[in-house]
Symmetry: C2
Subunit: 455 residues, 2 copies
Amino acid sequence: MKDEKIIIVGAGLCGTLLGLRLAQRGYKVDLHERRGDMRLQHVDAGRSINLALSDRGLNALDKVGIKEQILNVCIPMKGRMIHPAEEDSFYSPYSGREKDHINSVSREGLNMALLDTADAFDNVKIFFNSKCESVDIENARATFRNMKTGELYEESGSIVIGTDGAGSAVRQSMMGKTTELLFNYSQNFLRHGYKELTIPPAEGGGWRIEKNALHIWPRGSFMIIALPNLDGSFTVTMFHPFKGPNGFDNLDSKEKVKAFFEKEFPTLIPYMPNYLEEYFENPVGTLGTIKCYPWQAYGKTLIMGDASHAIVPFYGQGMNASFEDVAVFDDVLEKHEGDWGKVFSVFQDMRAENTNAIADLAIDNFYEMRDKVDDPDFIRKRKLEMQLEQNYQNYYSKYSLVTFRPDFPYAKAMKIGRKQDELLLDLCTDHEPEDLNQDEVMEKILDLRNTFNYG
Amino acid sequence: MKDEKIIIVGAGLCGTLLGLRLAQRGYKVDLHERRGDMRLQHVDAGRSINLALSDRGLNALDKVGIKEQILNVCIPMKGRMIHPAEEDSFYSPYSGREKDHINSVSREGLNMALLDTADAFDNVKIFFNSKCESVDIENARATFRNMKTGELYEESGSIVIGTDGAGSAVRQSMMGKTTELLFNYSQNFLRHGYKELTIPPAEGGGWRIEKNALHIWPRGSFMIIALPNLDGSFTVTMFHPFKGPNGFDNLDSKEKVKAFFEKEFPTLIPYMPNYLEEYFENPVGTLGTIKCYPWQAYGKTLIMGDASHAIVPFYGQGMNASFEDVAVFDDVLEKHEGDWGKVFSVFQDMRAENTNAIADLAIDNFYEMRDKVDDPDFIRKRKLEMQLEQNYQNYYSKYSLVTFRPDFPYAKAMKIGRKQDELLLDLCTDHEPEDLNQDEVMEKILDLRNTFNYG
């Protein structure tokens, strides 16, 4: 057991995984969470119900030894099931490789499993209803408020790590030292918001639509998606403009919502018996991107996960990027243990470039999902990519590089992936994939990669 | 006299000009300024001592009728006097047209002239030592603190306009409604800071170096500039990295500073008898860019000037952009008077694109000034541009479009200017300007402009 105490602010997915890993390393870990214990009571996190867990996240779970346990409660999604407005639904695999898939997982289930695993360590203490008010970032001293009694108290540690999400109080304390830290910061919101609805399980159990897929109903300027849950239900998410003739602001009566769904999503209505009630019960969430730099101050305070890089959900990488933070942090710690200043600055400089990249890729995917997945050129390109992935061991699409190749940092995956996309879209604009000589295409891809030190 | 009262937060350059213009339009104007009255006492604004006033700013001053009065206390600067490390100084005009120049003006002098002019209106009230704490942005109600008594008080108006600078309290209140407003925001700091020094007047009066120029001592990763003052002095500004072997952090003793200046700026030392004392007396300032959107909320609250778009000083356009805000706002108000919601939203949508452009151009110019002004290719390009400007009435360099053509919005000036720069640099990389056929060059320029609807 080490003597140093680490204060982690936020026991969500990232913070709990981090605490668990640091406990395994022998540190004393104090985890502070502003909400109550979700294992004892329903806690409204105001966040999406299920999430896509993929290789980067799984790598980090493997590091703490709970990968298999978590996979047991996941539903594999092997591709997108696309439901266009005017045509039949069709299936588009995520990869040409049989083994590649992403996993639908319950946010709450995963968080509870992490809490249980961390809780089992003697050197971990978890404080619920303990809300961080501010951090003395220079001295690793945090002020918390007990949300039940209102009482304020201070805790000091060797270091403070903020994993307290997009609205991070730790980051806020760093912003208070804007001039000293030359703190760069940006928050950018899409003009679209989201609202969750439900497809309940089939009568008698089971899933009403294809279980092993991520469903998309693309409609140009808006869309709906659905991810499967273990109980047979699907969590359905509308991504929709806040304002405008069809905006959330105008869909303000049951008549209007009904007319809208009947016009735009007629085939979805039969699966959602309660959508009108849910529409008016459930809130509209915002979709924001947060970037900042530095992530650390004085070798005493660090932020990671959504606190330093909140992204939009369209690449299914938000949680995966945060889990990868923990894995990378652990690697850096392994190398520089004993010098927090070094650990923090090496970590932020390795990581910020990559989380900036996934932030941008996630925005790109928003437009792809709502607007392009049913476009003929795009469909031809995906078809060609699947064939390349089947026929060439070393072909990886942008999606595959990001999702199934954790050995490629996000920034590199973005750079190569975007170039490949340009090349393939160009080829597919005039030709059916069948008419192309795949060996020649692959040669062009390899040429392109050489310029990027593909590895 | 109109019945509507407008609350303006911040009586700096932008706020005072705005108040004056709105008073001329017959509105009741309450100007609140957190500092004391600079006409009665020295007020440390913590800002640069002199500024470059050019055509966009002059246009706005013309609108309120004080352009000539202000020009009388300006010093024209017709070009850059460049002082390389190893070679003789040389002069580079800002334009090939005789009449084009920028003007060195005292920030304090200009602000006092604006305050005097505004104060003369019965419908203007100016409250000094009145610091805005927060704004109820939905109801145009602002809370102020009297900085002398500590007393808090509220003021309501038809609208509140925040011209309270880069650290705007009004903007802060809008950020408090991030989700409702989908408030996008970014702050980005250069890793360079600045420190002001002085070249005093010559003994017996007059200027020790060329009066009618902006002086630059470019040194690659850092630089010094100097602007003339009416009293014969120059305000000298070091732009310098915060950290590093030669960073401000390491120049921490008189010995080190002296050695540094003797090595890097030996020809400047004789003009600055007190530079060592000043170096240790004067603070290091940060250089930040702030962008945000929206600028307005509920048709009740608006921000403009540095509050909505703080930029780095390297294009000499910070004040000019803020003054242009006032002129554009006045034009929009003329059209839509009576509907603040419309005025605000038309204004922000006309303006934000252009202030984003000048923000980016100002960053570009940082690299140009410290790094390129003494580069042979760059010098050849400027020479060619001067010849084109002399020989062709309709040639305007990027610098001229930004500085001397207020009829070109910043965004358009940037777009065309950057393309022209690419073209000319390309031509000058292999050739002396004398070897080029100018008619052919001009034809290429015109071709390029046609693609941009040059106007």
